[in-house]
C-alpha cells in the first residue's frame, strides 16, 4: 500500500489535503508554505506544477501558476521542489499537473522522476482515463497512485471506468466548474458521495470550492474520507508573499481550523 492509501486507512477522521503551487510565490516562499502546511497537520500535500494554460483552475490558482512561471519555475525545478519537501517530512505527496507537462517530458520519464523525487501519486487534471492508459501503466510500474477526478456530471457508465483506472483515492469535484474558494459549499457534494460510495472501495476526497471550517465539517458529516483545499491556501500565499513569517502563521492558523473541524 502506498503512503496515500495508509493515510486513509489509519485516520479515524477525514484526511486534510492541502494544495500549493510549486515555486509560488518563489522557491523559498513555497518551501515556507509547504513546511507550515505540514507542521499544522495536513495529512497529504498536493503540489501543483505551474502551466501556461491552467484551464481547470479559477483565477486564484491561475495567478499562482503565473507567479511561479514568471519566477522561472521549470519541470526540473518542480521535481527539485518536491524533493526538498520530501526531505522535510514523510507526509504523502501528490503531484497535480496538466497533461502537456507529462506528455512533453515523456510519460514514462515523468513518472520515474516523480518517484525519484519522493512523490506518492499523480493527478493529471486534463486527462480522463480514456486518454490515460500509458500514464496508469507508468504509475503502476513505479508504485505510484494515479488519482482521477469525478464530477457531478460524470455518468454511471464512465464512473465504472474511472474506478477501474484509479488508485489511492477518488477526487470528487463538489461542483461543476473550475477550482476556487466559494462562500457556500455546493450541496452536490453529499449527493455525489452517496452515488459513488457503493461503486468503489477507494476513499472519497472532496475538493473544489472548499474554504471554511464549516464546509469541512459539513463534508465530514456527509461521509467524505478527505477534504481538499487549494485556492483558499493559495490566496494566503498570495496575500503574504512578502512576509514569510506572517504567511506561515496565517497558513498554520487556517490549517488548524480546518483540521479541528474535521475532528469534530
Amino acid at each position: 500500500m502506498t503512503r496515500i492509501g495508509e493515510v486513509f486507512q489509519t485516520l479515524d477522521r477525514p484526511a486534510f489535503i492541502a494544495y500549493l503551487v510549486a515555486g509560488d510565490p518563489d522557491r523559498v516562499g513555497f518551501l515556507t508554505a509547504a513546511r507550515a502546511v505540514i507542521e499544522a497537520g495536513a495529512d497529504i500535500l498536493e503540489i501543483g506544477m505551474p502551466f501556461s494554460d491552467p484551464v481547470a483552475d479559477g483565477p486564484t490558482i491561475q495567478r499562482a501558476h503565473t507567479r511561479a512561471l514568471e519566477g522561472g519555475m521549470t519541470v526540473d525545478g518542480f521535481f527539485e521542489a518536491v524533493g526538498e519537501v520530501r526531505k522535510l517530512s514523510e507526509t504523502p505527496i501528490l503531484l497535480m499537473v496538466y497533461c502537456n507537462t507529462v506528455h512533453h517530458r515523456g510519460v514514462e520519464r515523468f513518472y520515474r522522476e516523480a518517484l525519484a523525487a519522493g512523490a506518492d501519486g499523480v493527478l493529471v487534471v486534463d486527462m480522463p482515463p480514456e486518454e490515460g492508459e500509458r500514464a496508469v501503466r507508468a504509475a503502476r510500474e513505479n508504485g505510484l497512485d494515479q488519482i482521477f477526478l469525478v464530477a457531478p456530471s460524470t455518468s454511471d457508465r464512465r464512473l465504472g471506468g474511472i474506478v477501474e483506472s484509479a488508485s489511492g483515492f477518488l477526487y470528487l469535484a463538489s461542483l461543476l466548474g473550475v477550482t476556487g474558494a466559494r462562500e457556500q459549499l455546493s450541496d452536490e457534494a453529499g449527493t455525489l458521495i452517496r452515488r459513488v460510495r457503493p461503486r468503489t472501495r477507494l476513499p472519497l476526497a472532496v475538493g473544489f470550492g472548499i474554504s471554511r471550517p464549516e464546509h469541512a465539517a459539513a463534508l465530514r458529516d456527509a461521509g467524505a474520507d478527505g477534504v481538499i483545499v487549494g485556492s483558499a491556501l493559495v490566496k494566503l500565499v498570495e496575500e503574504h508573499a512578502r512576509d514569510p513569517v506572517q504567511m506561515a502563521r496565517e497558513i498554520k492558523g487556517f490549517v488548524a481550523g480546518m483540521r479541528g473541524a474535521l475532528e469534530g
Partner: protein, 390 residues
C-alpha cells in the same frame, strides 16, 4: 484508430467536468447530422440568410501577371464577411435542436465572435463572447458589431490576453454551465467532437468549389491554397479534395520570420503537444509551456492548430508552409489593386504563397485560393502599419 483521433492526433484531453458535455454533443451531432429536419433548416439558413453558394471568381488580371489560372473561392462574400458563419449557423442550430438556452464563444480578431452573434440573433439564442483585452483594443469595430447584435463581450485579462486565453476562459465557463450552455468553438481545434463537427460544417466550401471548378474548367484544379490558423477554412476547402490528386497547400503565419521566434506557424515550427483538449502540433518551450505567438493577422495568432492538419502534415497529403507579415501585406495590396478585392490579412497569406510559387506554375495550371474573409476589419491596422513604415 481511437475515437475522435486523426492518426495519433486529437482526443479529449479535458477535465472530468467537461466529459459529459462532450459525449452529449457527440450524440447530438451524430443524431441531427443525418436528420432531414435539421439538414433542411441548415440548408435554408445558409442559402437565404448567409448567401450560399458563394461565387468562384476567375481573376483575369492576377492570372495574367502570375502566369496561371487563378480562382478565388469567395467566402469574403458570405454574410458577416468571412467563412465563420458556416460553422456558427451549423452549431447554433444544433444547440437549438439540443434545447440549449445560451451560446458562449471565444474570439481573437472578432470574426468568429461576430459570426456567433449573428447566428445567436437570427436563431434567438443569447450569446456571450470571451475576448482577450489585447484583442478588444486592436479590433474595436468588431466589439461594437457584436454588441449591436445583442451579444455580450466579456474581456479576458488572464495570460497573454489574446485568443488562446479567450478559449481558456470559454472552457472554464462551459465547465460550470454545461447543462444549459453550448460552447460554440470557432475552429477545427479543441476536444472531439469539435474538430470533426466544425469540419463537417465548413466542408460546404470545398464541395461548392469542387462543383464550380468542374463546371467552369471541366477538370479539377492543380492546386488549392488556404491560410491556416486553427485551420477551419483550410479543412473546409481541402476536405472534399483529399481523395483527388490535387495539390493542397496550407499557409501559416510566418510573422516576422520563423527564425525570429515571433510567428504563429505551429505546423512548420512546432511539435506535438496538448492544448485546449487535443493533441496536435503546438508552439511550446522545452518544458511544454505554450509560447506566445505573433502575426499581423489576428486570426492566425494562435499557438495550436487543428489535429486533422497535424495528421495531414505527417502523412504528407498537405504541404504546410509559412509567409511573413510583410509578404502578406504585399499580397493584401496586390489583390486590392489588381482585382478590386480587399482580402482579410489572414487570406492574404494564401495569396502571398501563390505569388511566391507562381514561377513553378504553367499557363494552363488552375489554382483555387480560399479567400476566407474580406479585409475591411484590417483597414485601420494596415493604415497604421503603412504610416509606421512611411
Amino acid at each position: 484508430m481511437k475515437k475522435g483521433r486523426f492518426g495519433d492526433f486529437g482526443g479529449q484531453f479535458v477535465s472530468e467536468a467537461l466529459m459529459g458535455a462532450l459525449s452529449e454533443l457527440e450524440e447530438a451531432f451524430q443524431r441531427y447530422g443525418n436528420d432531414p429536419a435539421f439538414l433542411s433548416t441548415l440548408e435554408s439558413c445558409l442559402a437565404e440568410f448567409a448567401g450560399r453558394p458563394t461565387p468562384l471568381t476567375f481573376c483575369r488580371n492576377l492570372s495574367q501577371d502570375l502566369g496561371c489560372r487563378v480562382y478565388l473561392k469567395r467566402e469574403d462574400l458570405l454574410h458577416g464577411g468571412a467563412h465563420k458563419l458556416n460553422n456558427t449557423l451549423g452549431q447554433a442550430l444544433l444547440a437549438k435542436f439540443m434545447g440549449k438556452k445560451r451560446l458562449i464563444a471565444e474570439t481573437g480578431a472578432g470574426q468568429h465572435g461576430v459570426a456567433t452573434a449573428i447566428a445567436g440573433a437570427v436563431l434567438g439564442l443569447p450569446v456571450e463572447v470571451y475576448m482577450g483585452e489585447v484583442d478588444i483594443e486592436r479590433q474595436h469595430p468588431n466589439v461594437f458589431r457584436m454588441e449591436l447584435m445583442g451579444a455580450k463581450v466579456i474581456p479576458v485579462s488572464s495570460g497573454t490576453r489574446t485568443l488562446k486565453d479567450a478559449v481558456n476562459e470559454a472552457l472554464r465557463d462551459w465547465a460550470a454551465s454545461v447543462g444549459e450552455t453550448h460552447y460554440l468553438l470557432g475552429s477545427v481545434v479543441g476536444p472531439h467532437p469539435f474538430p470533426l463537427m466544425v469540419r463537417t460544417f465548413q466542408s460546404v466550401i470545398g464541395r461548392e468549389a469542387r462543383t464550380q471548378i468542374l463546371e467552369k474548367e471541366g477538370r479539377l484544379p492543380d492546386a488549392v491554397l488556404a491560410c491556416v490558423g486553427g485551420g477551419s477554412n483550410a479543412i473546409g476547402i481541402f476536405h472534399p479534395f483529399l481523395q483527388d490528386g490535387v495539390r493542397l497547400i496550407g499557409v501559416e503565419a510566418g510573422g516576422e520570420g520563423i527564425d525570429s521566434g515571433r510567428h504563429g506557424a505551429s505546423l512548420c515550427a512546432g511539435s506535438p503537444g496538448i492544448l485546449h483538449g487535443a493533441l496536435s502540433y503546438l508552439l511550446q518551450d522545452s518544458d511544454g509551456q505554450v509560447l506566445s505567438t505573433h502575426s499581423v493577422a489576428a486570426g492566425l495568432d494562435y499557438p495550436g492548430v487543428g489535429p486533422e492538419h497535424s495528421m495531414l502534415k505527417d502523412t504528407g497529403r498537405v504541404e504546410y508552409v509559412s509567409v511573413t507579415d510583410r509578404e502578406a501585406l504585399e499580397a493584401f495590396a496586390l489583390l486590392s489593386r489588381k482585382e478590386g478585392i480587399i482580402p482579410a490579412l489572414e487570406s492574404a497569406h494564401a495569396i502571398a504563397r501563390l505569388v511566391k510559387m507562381a514561377g513553378e506554375l504553367g499557363r494552363d495550371d488552375i489554382v483555387v485560393v480560399n479567400l476566407s474573409g474580406r479585409g475591411d476589419k484590417d483597414l485601420t491596422e494596415v493604415a497604421r502599419l503603412q504610416g509606421g513604415a512611411g
